[in-house]
């Protein structure tokens, strides 16, 4: 059940990511919803699930893009594993730690992703830090919002049921 939920979340993130990209100049969104999903899964379920989610999501993302298949998957797998380990070792339930977690995950992911491309001589990334920083902030904001929405959903349903029963 959990695996299916993760796969659905990844599919939704990819769908949303690709649909958002059309509205951005140059086709590149300053937001990586797939990475947000991976970090969320890692923080909520642990390093193994986070790593598998990152691997699968990254490979699919690579396959859908024109890049080398596996580089995004490896970067997201490492980030998912690290986020899962940190989520198990530390209490990351408040908004600020989660914000920091998303920012750090984005920076590490970008460093791994770009670093591998540069090391392999496949692509150059001149002055990437502004884009990375903006993406990190955007991902963090999206992650905080996602956590807030998902954590409020069970209570909202219960409250709605309670209100209907009072009528």
């Amino acid at each position: 059940m959990k695996t299916a939920g993760v796969l659905v979340a990844i599919a939704l993130a990819l769908a949303l990511q690709t649909s958002l990209a059309r509205f951005v100049v140059g086709g590149t969104a300053a937001l990586d919803l797939v990475l947000v999903v991976v970090v969320y899964v890692a923080l909520t379920t642990g390093p193994v699930t986070g790593m598998l989610a990152g691997s699968v999501a990254g490979i699919i993302q690579d396959a859908l893009s024109s890049g080398t298949v596996g580089i995004g998957g490896l970067a997201k797998a490492i980030v998912g594993f690290a986020a899962g380990v940190i989520g198990q070792q530390f209490i990351v339930t408040a908004a600020f730690p989660r914000f920091v977690m998303f920012v750090a995950a984005t920076v590490v992911h970008s460093a791994l992703f770009m670093g591998m491309y540069v090391v392999l001589g496949l692509k150059e990334f001149p002055s990437p830090w502004a884009a990375v920083l903006s993406q990190a902030l955007a991902n963090a904001a999206a992650g905080i919002i996602a956590f807030a929405i998902i954590e409020s959903l069970p209570g909202a349903i219960e409250r709605r049921k309670y209100r209907r029963s009072r009528r």
């Binding site: 642990g46 390093p47 193994v48 790593m51 598998l52 691997s55 490979i59 080398t68 298949v69 596996g70 580089i71 998957g73 490896l74 797998a77 490492i78 594993f81 591998m116 392999l120 001589g121 496949l122």
Partner: protein, 288 residues
């Protein structure tokens, strides 16, 4: 089941996933030389395996050859040592023959250069008693040898024949304490008598104290004794001391190394005693 639960082995699982991704990436990426990265990585890794295997193989082979396969080397070493010993003996023989050849060549040169009738003789024995410095040569009366014939070598005077037998002869060396020869100092023409001391040195007597004699002067035979032809080298003056009397005390180092004599020349032509006695033709006696 806990062993099979992959969630309890997150580290290995993480490593496997990373390696899987690296392989996946390597299949798509080529190096700057145009070789697929997977192929290059596999080749690089496997070449190290090959290098290690080769190292182990060579090490085992070297150990075998250097330690366990030495039985044959030991046998070969023994044979080579034996061959070396034989060759050393042969080398010594060859060297000895070469030295003998050189000595005989010198003797032949001396024989050719002197007008005296001579015959060559080989030394077959040394002196029987240390008190008498003699030697035995392999020529005797059958070869024309007689007593009081001079015996010479390329370096100088050796002695005289004192006891010839039909096939051998005893030679009294000049260093024998009973030997004597008429001599003169080549530079100053001062005359005297050289006598043996029984040791490795000679003594020259009856040289006037007023004669100018110094160490290093060459002493040759004077020919007045009727035995030794004139002009053959006896030795060099080693030291001179002015005595209280009218004669100087002169020590001579013999020109001949008596310990290494192997062949000598016997002078068959005796110097004319009358001429020697007057001394008028003495200077040319040895060369006539």
């Amino acid at each position: 089941m806990a062993v099979l639960d992959i969630r309890r082995r997150t580290g290995y699982f993480f490593l496997a996933v990373v390696v899987g991704h690296v392989i996946l990436i390597s299949t798509q990426v080529t190096t700057k030389r145009g070789v697929p990265m997977l192929e290059e990585v596999v080749f690089s890794v496997f070449s190290e395996v090959q290098r290690a295997a080769n190292g182990v193989t060579m090490g085992v082979r070297g150990t075998w050859q250097d330690y366990f396969a030495l039985q044959q080397v030991r046998t070969e070493n023994g044979q080579l040592k034996q061959q070396l010993g034989e060759l050393q003996v042969r080398l010594q023989e060859e060297r000895n023959m070469a030295q003998q050849y050189q000595a005989l060549q010198k003797l032949l040169d001396l024989k050719a250069s002197t007008p005296l009738m001579t015959t060559g003789a080989g030394v077959i024995a040394g002196g029987a008693s240390p008190e008498f410095r003699t030697m035995t040569v392999d020529k005797g009366t059958h070869d024309g040898l007689r007593a009081d014939m001079a015996v010479i070598a390329p370096a100088g005077v050796v002695g005289r024949v004192i006891q010839p037998s039909p096939r051998a002869a005893k030679v009294q060396l000049l260093i024998d304490r009973n030997a004597a020869a008429g001599a003169l100092i080549e530079r100053t023409r001062a005359q005297g008598v050289v006598v043996g001391t029984g040791a490795d040195q000679l003594r020259m007597d009856y040289v006037s104290g007023s004669s100018e004699v110094k160490a290093g002067d060459t002493v040759v035979t004077s020919g007045i004794d009727g035995i030794y032809p004139k002009g053959f080298v006896i030795g060099q003056i080693q030291s001179v001391s002015r005595g209280a009397g009218q004669y100087s005390s002169i020590v001579i180092k013999p020109a001949v190394d008596f310990t290494s004599l192997e062949a000598v020349l016997i002078v068959l032509t005796p110097p004319p005693a009358t001429t020697e006695a007057t001394g008028t033709a003495g200077a040319n006696q040895g060369r006539e």
